[in-house]
Symmetry: C2
Subunit: 355 residues, 2 copies
């Protein structure tokens, strides 16, 4: 198969972890006889520095021509402390999501047996938790207009908008996932207070009968925030709107104790994108200490969701598990044992894949 | 002192737990020589059933004429499963908040030594956690207009609005609390994406110099959702807007393992209101099994915040702690030991207060 991908390392530790993920992607392609072609492009703070634009037109063009995008992380502290800065790395991220039509962000929440003890939750509650959060990514308050200030600057407003089409497509995506898993979909909203949530709930109730083998239930967002902590094993697939998803997926990701290992996929109209959940981790930049596993597992998701190459993805997962079991891990999860560097871990996994 | 209070038991277990809290309030008043006068009124599902209105005008009048409101809980399953129902108990709650100008909801998050083992978090992380969440309660998306649907029904919209005045008063409230505690205020927003959050952050930055002894920091709401789980002891006072507060305060309340014990206070322009955090718990209604401690501790908050009667509040707290240590508790926290009824627990605490 021909794999044409765009590689966007981004800021901070992005380039270091991307290097490892790319090597492993190449190794997998060689092993299975696929042809990998890729091009790199800039995004985020480094793109602002180079061009003034966090998501330059050439980067967008490259993504549009690719079958999948591998994305590192963006963000630089120098842009963080001025909320009124004119150009910010995040704007590039949001524009990229919108222009690529990346409407569904998929985050598997899984625990790794060797890391359960690092979870902030009691082991009995979290061990074996295995669910998928699906976040709508191109609608809601992130993109609704009008947004801004009154003339005197003393009143601010944002708008949350959702259309039937936006809601339907991400619900269908969520049902598809639920159908391949334990057949339970939890729709999270705030239908007791806001109008957009009432539309979400109405449409979900309309669509549910099309998936008779899947159990649909509804949860208010405040209850969902509680249940993720109290009973994470009760979830199979959860779907929600953009802003609720921002909060809940981050909450869900920390209960596993393995934030540095969690990948995500964003399904789009024009292409799909794969990225680690963690950020650009500026403090670690250039030190060759960052954990590359979430980025490497993002490459696994790319094979699986992006190209439907399940065996290829499974091999990467197997290699990652082997590195964990052997203790070839970076300092964040070394737990007093030997801490390996980013490149050590990446090269170990690459050898496993080739071997 | 003259204590003139409005008593709103509401729905579900509200009346049962209110009865105990009222007896204890009376006992405290007798002991300290205060004159207590109170009147009851209806709110929520029971008010819809009786008058068609979840927050009738007479109830509002009574609250306006009172120095404090003791509130139980509202909600009934028969109104829950139809998001498009014309009249809902929640509307009464929101109208009550708005009409009474209850702009600041204060939720102390505390752990009880005897209950730490019930927390979903690892004991080492949560034991000793002690912070206060302050949620803006009368602004934001809960009340912003326009809110509704397009003519064809296929597009929905909500509006989030905040004015300088709304933000300033709740920030000052938060600073006041921080000043009486460990002098650290965390302002939670999403200033990297939404305009109302940028106004929050700007105003907080303007106000901060007025409180030079208090350390102000900022956290994005998604990070806050993570840090509440990962490092709850890092917080002292947290303040945020209405919808973020809805989600984060509920999240924060479950980490203690003592949801049935947590009270809250809402500070207002016209009066203040005190209520348990838990809901109306319909399954337990009329069974005399509900845990009355959150309601009783709400009465303690009423003495403290509502009337500045600190000794009176402290006596109730002491009595509640004694009941926990003695094991005079309801089944939800009995842990295999003897389970006492709602009235048993209330009467035990009342005797302690009188004795
Ligand atoms: C950086 C920020 C704009 C972004 C978001 O809120 O979507 C981030 O938190 C995320 O979840 O990817
Ligand atoms: C019932 C609902 C309208 C309410 C809210 O969202 O404010 C509740 O969740 C709360 O937190 O008091």
């Amino acid at each position: 198969m021909q794999l044409k991908i765009a590689v966007l390392p981004g800021d901070g530790i992005g380039p270091e972890i991307m290097k490892q993920a790319l090597n492993i992607t190449s190794a997998v392609c060689e092993k299975f006889g696929h042809t990998l072609t890729y091009k790199e492009a800039i995004v985020g703070a480094c793109a602002i520095d180079a061009t003034g634009d966090p998501y330059p037109a050439e980067t967008h063009e490259l993504c549009m021509q690719s079958d999948a995008v591998l994305f590192g992380a963006i963000g630089d502290p120098k842009y963080d402390n001025d909320p009124n800065a004119k150009v910010r790395p995040e704007q590039g991220l949001l524009r990229m999501r919108k222009q690529l039509g990346l409407y569904g962000n998929i985050r598997p929440v899984m625990t790794f047996p060797s890391l359960v003890h690092k979870s902030p939750l009691r082991a009995d509650l979290v061990d074996g938790a295995d669910f998928v959060c699906i976040r709508e990514l191109t609608g809601g308050m992130y993109f609704g207009r009008p947004q801004g200030r009154s003339e005197d600057g003393n009143t601010a407003y944002d708008t949350c908008v959702y259309t039937r089409e936006e809601i339907e497509r991400v619900l269908h995506l969520a049902y598809k996932f639920a159908g391949q898993r334990r057949k339970k979909l939890t729709v999270v909203d705030k239908a007791n207070v806001i109008a957009t949530s009432r539309l979400w709930r109405q449409i979900a109730q309309e669509i549910a009968p099309q998936y008779p083998d899947i159990e649909t239930d509804f949860l208010f967002v405040d209850n969902a925030a509680m249940r993720i902590i109290q009973w994470p094993k009760s979830f199979d697939v959860m779907v929600t709107e953009n802003l609720f998803g921002d909060i809940l997926t981050d909450e869900a990701s920390v209960i596993t104790g393995s934030l540095g290992l969690l990948p995500s996929a964003s399904v789009g109209l024009h292409t799909s994108l794969f990225e680690p959940i963690h950020g650009s981790y500026p403090q670690a930049t250039g030190k060759n200490i960052a954990n590359p596993l979430a980025m490497i597992l993002s490459a696994a998701l790319m094979f699986e969701y992006g190209f439907n190459l399940m065996e290829e993805g499974a091999l990467i997962r197997k290699a990652v598990n082997a590195s964990l079991e052997t203790g070839v891990v970076t300092e964040d999860i070394a737990d007093g044992g030997k801490a390996y560097s980013t490149s050590d871990v990446g090269e170990w996994i690459e050898r496993f894949v080739r071997g």
